[in-house]
Amino acid sequence: MANWIPLWVHKLGSPPIFYRFAGAVRPWALALAALLGAVALYGGLVLAPQDRYQHDAYRIIFIHVPCAWMSLFIYGAMAVASFVALVWRVKLAEVVAMESAPIGAAFTFVTLVTGSLWGKPMWGTWWTWDARLTSELVLLFLYLGVIGLYHAFEDRRQGARAAAFLALIGIVNVPIVHFSVNWWNTLHQGSTVRILGPSKISGDMLWPLLTMMVATKCYYLASLCGRVRADLLELEGGKDWVRRIAEAEERA
């Protein structure tokens, strides 16, 4: 590979080194996620004032919106890892892409369920075939398609490459989900929080939302580390380093 890539990147691509690295990162990421998540829940459920029109029902926003952001963010991460896996045939990139899919599917599922629970009291319906809701449902199916395709092959690496290809094609759905509220006339409201320009939400509601966003990012990192570690043990089952871990755990 190119010379400009520092050596530690190559080293981190090696399964035993990444296994140890992920094991060191995981508890910190989980602790940070739990701490920030608890602060965000306290801020969102207790400190934030009632909404003028939606009263307390709006408090679903503090999990619905961060989960929706994560459903798109993880899809992006999965697509980048898939691209690396397809172009450079990096085993670790395949594992990262394939282990991101169940986490992304979990967040997409939570987004749809919490959205439904919010829609019933506010819109009067659990579900409507509106552009935002439908494209988010398609996102869930894309995640499930990637997971299913991965497991449909006898050879794990062959399955990972086929599923990575599907993940790359499915990336077209991500901007559709994001811009659906602008492109179509939807029942779902437009973006409230903006990166460019001022957000249309008051500060005491905004900070729990952003804290929860960081917490879910940390959670993704922690969950991904655990999943990648398990997957590497399975893929490298015949290697010496995995054998040593298995024997060490038996003695413990």
Binding site: L41, R59, I60, F109, L117, P121, A230, E247
Partner: protein, 66 residues
């Protein structure tokens, strides 16, 4: 405190949403730990089988192989 749990009459929507969030993430976090245990157990069983085979010849093998 009762007012907090009542969520202004929207308790039936707010609390299930939070419950789904926490339960799904807990399940997502526990599943790789269970998988890891199963993988290592199977690997140890395979290693033990290999070790036995090396110590004693297989029962069906020919005398010349012993």
């Amino acid at each position: 405190m009762n007012g907090f749990f009542a969520m202004g009459g929207y308790a039936a929507y707010v609390w299930p949403a939070y419950a789904v969030f926490l339960l799904v993430l807990a399940a997502d976090f526990l599943s790789p730990a269970l998988r890891r245990r199963r993988i290592l157990r199977e690997l140890r069983a395979r290693l033990a089988r290999q070790a036995r085979r090396q110590r004693a010849p297989a029962p069906g093998s020919l005398p010349s192989e012993r």
